[in-house]
C-alpha cells in the first residue's frame, strides 16, 4: 500500500508496510496518482523516466511492499504503566471535562490514601515482569490536591524497587503550583503536563475557577516559573472545542508566551454536547493543522506533540501495532484502588478490571483491548496511517460510537491530516527542490 499526497507544492509518497518515505517531483507523483505505474499509457518522456525510478524502488523493497508477517503477542504483555488518580476532586470546573469535574460522575470526591498508592505500586511490580522502565502518571481530578499522596508514592516506589527505572509524570491545572511545589516537581517528575487552552478568552471560556472566574491570569505566571526553573521535559497541553475551531491561533499564542513543547487536542465529547466537534468541522480543522504547519516551517522555536514524528528512529513495528496499550500495558487506578483500562474509562462500571487491593486483573476485559490493536480494527487494517497512529483511541471510539473497536471518524481524519503535515515538515530539509 502506498499513500501519496501533495501539500504546499510538495509531493510525498509513504510506503506503508516498509516505512519508507519518498519525496517526488510532479512527474513521479502523477505516475503514482494516475495509476500509470502499472498501466503505462500515454506517458510523457518525464513520466516514463520517473516511472523507471519508481519501479526501481519497488524492486528495492521501498514501494508497494507486501505486509510483513509480524506476530504481536499483545495479550501476554506485562503491565508497565499506571495512571494514578490520586485525587477525584478538582479546583477548576472545565466545560469539557471527561472526569465530570473530578469525581468521574460518582458523586464522591476522594483522595487516594497513601496505603492504596502503595498497593498500586505493589500491583505494578507484581505484574511488570522483566520491564525496567516503569511509568507512573499522577492524574485526577487535580493531583496537586493530593500532593502528600504523590510524595509518598514516589518515595515508596523508589524504595520498593531500586532496580527499576521509575518515571514519574504529573498532569496539573496549575492552580496549586507555588515555589515549593514547583521545586518538588522539577526535581522528581521526568515530565510535567501543564493544562492551558491558549488565548485568554478561549481558556477562560472553558477553564473556570471555583466558584467562578477565568483561570488564565492565575496560572500563566506559575507555568512560566515552572519552565524557567525546569530542566526536565514539559508539555503545555490544551483542548480545543467547537468554540475555537481556529485553534492554530491558540497554539501560536502558547508559542508566543515562550512555551516550547505544546500539545492541543480535540475535545472528545458525546454526540449532541454543545462543545462537541462534528464531521462538518473537519475541513476547517484540517486547515488549522495546515496553518500550524506553515507557521512551523518558518518558526522552529517550538514543537507540536503530534508533529514530532521521527521518520528514521521512531518506534519499532511492534510498538506501532500495539498502540496506546490501554487495558494491557497501561491501566488507571482510582482513589479506592479500582483498576480500569485507562484514565478515560474510569467510572464506566462495565470496564472495571480489578483492584490493587486484592491484586485482581480481569483477563477477559484486557483481551477486549488486546484484540483491537491497529491490526484488529477493521478501519485500521486498510488505513495508510496505522503504523503512525497505532490504531486510535478506544475511549473516543466508545464515547462517539458506543464501541471501542469502531473508529471515531473525526479523530481519524484529524490524525491523518496531522501525520501528513508532520511528514511534510520532514521533507523541508531534503533538498529535492
Amino acid at each position: 500500500m502506498v499513500h501519496s499526497y501533495a501539500l504546499f507544492g510538495r509531493y510525498i509518497a509513504i510506503d506503508v508496510h516498509s516505512g519508507a518515505v519518498h519525496e517526488l517531483d510532479r512527474a513521479a507523483f502523477d505516475v503514482l496518482q494516475k495509476g500509470l505505474l502499472f498501466e503505462p499509457l500515454n506517458l510523457t518522456p518525464e513520466q516514463a523516466e520517473a516511472r523507471e525510478e519508481l519501479l526501481a524502488l519497488k524492486e528495492d523493497g521501498l514501494l508497494f511492499t507486501e505486509p510483513e508477517a509480524v506476530t504481536v503477542n499483545y495479550a501476554d504483555l506485562p503491565l508497565k504503566a499506571l495512571c494514578l488518580h490520586v485525587s477525584h476532586d478538582c479546583n477548576l470546573r472545565c466545560a469539557y471535562c471527561f472526569a465530570k469535574t473530578g469525581d468521574f460522575g460518582t458523586g464522591r470526591r476522594l483522595t487516594m490514601p497513601p496505603e492504596v498508592a502503595e498497593r498500586a505500586i505493589d500491583y505494578l511490580l507484581a505484574r511488570c515482569g522483566g520491564r525496567r522502565n516503569l511509568e507512573i502518571d499522577f492524574f485526577g481530578g487535580e493531583p496537586l490536591m493530593a500532593l502528600d499522596t504523590v510524595k509518598h508514592t514516589v518515595t515508596y516506589a523508589r524504595r520498593a524497587a531500586p532496580d527499576k527505572n521509575f518515571r514519574f509524570t504529573l498532569t496539573t491545572n496549575g492552580v496549586l503550583l507555588d515555589d515549593g511545589v514547583t521545586e518538588y516537581l522539577n526535581r522528581e517528575m521526568s515530565n510535567v503536563v501543564l493544562s492551558l487552552d491558549g488565548r485568554r478568552q478561549v481558556n477562560d471560556a472553558a477553564r473556570r475557577l471555583v466558584p467562578d472566574g477565568g483561570s488564565y491570569d492565575e496560572i500563566l505566571p506559575k507555568y512560566r516559573h515552572v519552565i524557567a526553573t525546569r530542566t526536565g521535559d514539559y508539555y503545555v497541553r490544551g483542548t480545543y472545542t467547537k468554540r475555537n475551531t481556529d485553534f492554530a491561533e491558540d497554539i501560536a499564542h502558547l508559542a508566543s508566551l515562550g512555551f516550547r513543547n505544546i500539545s492541543l487536542e480535540p475535545a472528545v465529547l458525546p454526540p449532541g454536547h454543545p462543545l462537541a466537534l462534528t464531521e462538518e468541522d473537519v475541513p476547517a480543522l484540517c486547515r488549522q493543522y495546515e496553518l500550524l504547519c506553515e507557521r512551523m516551517a518558518e518558526d522552529g522555536s517550538f514543537a507540536f506533540f503530534h508533529f514530532n514524528v521521527d521518520l528514521a528512529q521512531g518506534p519499532c513495528v511492534y510498538k506501532r501495532l500495539r498502540g496506546c496499550g490501554a487495558g494491557v500495558e497501561y491501566a488507571a487506578v482510582t482513589p479506592e484502588g479500582d483498576v480500569y483500562p485507562c484514565h478515560q474509562f474510569v467510572g464506566r462500571e462495565e470496564y472495571r478490571m480489578g483492584s490493587v487491593l486484592d491484586g485482581s486483573f480481569d483477563k477477559d476485559i484486557s483481551s477486549w483491548f488486546s484484540d483491537i490493536g491497529a491490526e484488529g480494527r477493521e478501519d485500521c487494517r486498510t488505513c495508510w496511517a496505522r503504523f503512525y497512529c497505532g490504531g486510535g483511541c478506544a475511549a473516543s471510539n466508545l464515547t462517539v460510537n458506543g464501541d471501542i473497536a469502531l473508529c471515531d471518524r473525526l479523530g481519524c481524519a484529524l490524525e491523518k491530516k496531522r501525520l501528513e503535515c508532520a511528514i511534510y515538515l520532514k521533507t523541508l530539509k531534503s533538498g529535492i527542490y
Binding site: V21, L54, N133, Y318, G325, Q344, Y388
Partner: protein
C-alpha cells in the same frame, strides 16, 4: 535518482527482527491523554541493538 528523493528506508521492515522490548513510554502518558499517535514516541533500545536504528542504509543519492 532525478525524480525521487528517498527520505528514509525500510525502517519498519528492518525493525521486525529486533523490536518489541516494551521499554519505551506508553503514548498517553507523554502529553495528550486523549488521542493516540505512536510514531512520535522514542525508541529506547540502545542504537547498537535497535532494529529501528542499526539497519538503516544510506538514502538513495
Amino acid at each position: 535518482m532525478k525524480h525521487i528523493k528517498t527520505l528514509n528506508r525500510a525502517v519498519l521492515k528492518d525493525s521486525v527482527p529486533h523490536g518489541g522490548c516494551g521499554e519505551c513510554q506508553t503514548s498517553c502518558q507523554s502529553a495528550c491523554k486523549t488521542s493516540c499517535t505512536v510514531a512520535n514516541q522514542k525508541c529506547e533500545r540502545p542504537p547498537k541493538v535497535s532494529g529501528t536504528l542499526r539497519q538503516i542504509k544510506q538514502p538513495v543519492a
